[in-house]
Amino acid sequence: MNIQDMQKIWDIESNQTLYVLDEASVLNRINKKVISAERRANSTENFIIAINIFVTIVLFAIAILNDNLGTWEYLMAIFAALTIGFVLYYRKKRYEFQSQVGDKMLDNLNKAIHHATVQAKMTDLFLIWYIIGVGALTLSNMIIQNISIWLILPIAITMVIGFIVGRWEQRSIHEKKRDELIDLRTKLVEEVN
C-alpha cells in the first residue's frame, strides 16, 4: 500500500461519523470543569494566604502587645508575610501560563518546559524555605527555651520526613514532567538525516 492509498482510506473517515457525540453535555461539562479546576486551584492558594495572614497578624500582635521584641516572633512573621508574596507571584505565573493556548507546537513546548522548570525550582525553594526555615526557627526556639529533647526529637524527625517526601514528590512529578517535555522538544527539532 502506498501513501496515496492510505490517504484515500484516511479521507473516508473525514466524511463519515465515526463516533456519536453528545454535544449538549460537552459545553455543560466544560463549564463545570473549568469552574471547578479554577476554584480548586484558587481555594488552595487562598487557604495558604489566609493562614499566613493570620499567622503574621497574630505574631506581630503578640510581639507588640507584650512589648516582646523576640527575634523568633519577628522572623516567623516576616517569613509568613513572604510566603503570601510567594503564593501571589505563583498565581500570577499560573494565570500567564494558562492563557497561552494556540501557539506553535515548539513555542508551546518551550513555554511548558519553562513552566515545568519554574515549578520545579519553586517547589524546591518553597520546600527548603518552609521546612528548613520553619524547622530551624522552631527547633532553635525550643532549644533556647530548654524544652525536653523527647519533644524536640519527634518534631525534628517529622520535619526531616516531610522534607524527604516533598523532595521525592518534586523529583518524581515536576522534574519527570520537565524531562518528558524536553524529550518531546528534542524529537521535534532534531534534524533527521
Partner: protein
C-alpha cells in the same frame, strides 16, 4: 468577546471540525475512557483558546494547533472502575463498520512517537509543508525530511500487512 459569541463559535467548531478532534483523540489515546478524557481536555483548551483566535489563520489550523498541543502534553490517568462513568461518556463508539485497513493505519500511527504522530495526522489531512511548519514551529526542510522518513516507514509496514 461575549460569552454568547464564544458559545456560538465553539458549537460551530464542534459541528464543523469534529473529525479532526476524533482523529487526534484516536491516535493519542487507546481505550474509550482515555478517548473521553482526552476529548474533554481538548475541548476545554479549545473553549479557552477562542478569545485568542484571530481570523489571520484558518479555523482548521487553529484547531489542529490547540488539539495537538493538548494531546502532546496529555497523560493517561489512572482510574478506578466506575460504572456511573459509562453514562457520562461524551463520545461513544460507532455502530457502523469502517474500512478494514483504517484500524491498521490508526494502530501504526499510534506506534509512532508523539511528534511523528502529529506530523502523520497533518500529512494525511493534506496539510502542506509550510502549514505544518507553521503549526509545529520547525523549518519546512525539517518537516520535509521527517515526512519522508514517516512515509518510508509506513510503506514498509504496509508490506508486512499485505504479505
Amino acid at each position: 468577546m461575549t460569552k454568547e459569541k464564544q458559545e456560538e463559535l465553539f458549537h460551530s467548531w464542534l459541528t464543523d471540525h469534529k473529525p479532526i478532534l476524533y482523529k487526534i483523540i484516536r491516535v493519542y489515546s487507546q481505550d474509550l475512557d482515555d478517548q473521553n478524557d482526552l476529548f474533554q481536555e481538548i475541548t476545554i483548551q479549545l473553549w479557552k483558546s477562542i478569545p485568542n483566535f484571530k481570523a489571520q489563520c484558518l479555523e482548521t489550523t487553529w484547531i489542529y494547533r490547540v488539539a495537538l498541543n493538548t494531546a502532546l502534553k496529555w497523560k493517561k490517568k489512572a482510574r478506578k472502575n466506575n460504572p456511573e462513568q459509562i453514562t457520562e461518556d461524551l463520545i461513544k463508539e460507532p455502530a457502523e463498520n469502517t474500512h478494514p485497513h483504517l484500524d491498521w493505519l490508526y494502530h501504526e500511527i499510534s506506534l509512532l512517537n508523539k511528534i511523528d504522530r502529529s506530523l502523520t495526522l497533518l500529512m494525511l489531512d493534506g496539510f502542506g509543508y509550510k502549514d505544518m511548519s507553521e503549526i509545529l514551529g520547525i523549518t519546512t526542510s525539517n518537516v520535509g525530511v521527517k515526512i519522508n522518513r514517516i512515509k518510508i516507514h509506513l510503506q514498509e509496514r504496509s508490506k508486512l500487512l499485505t504479505s
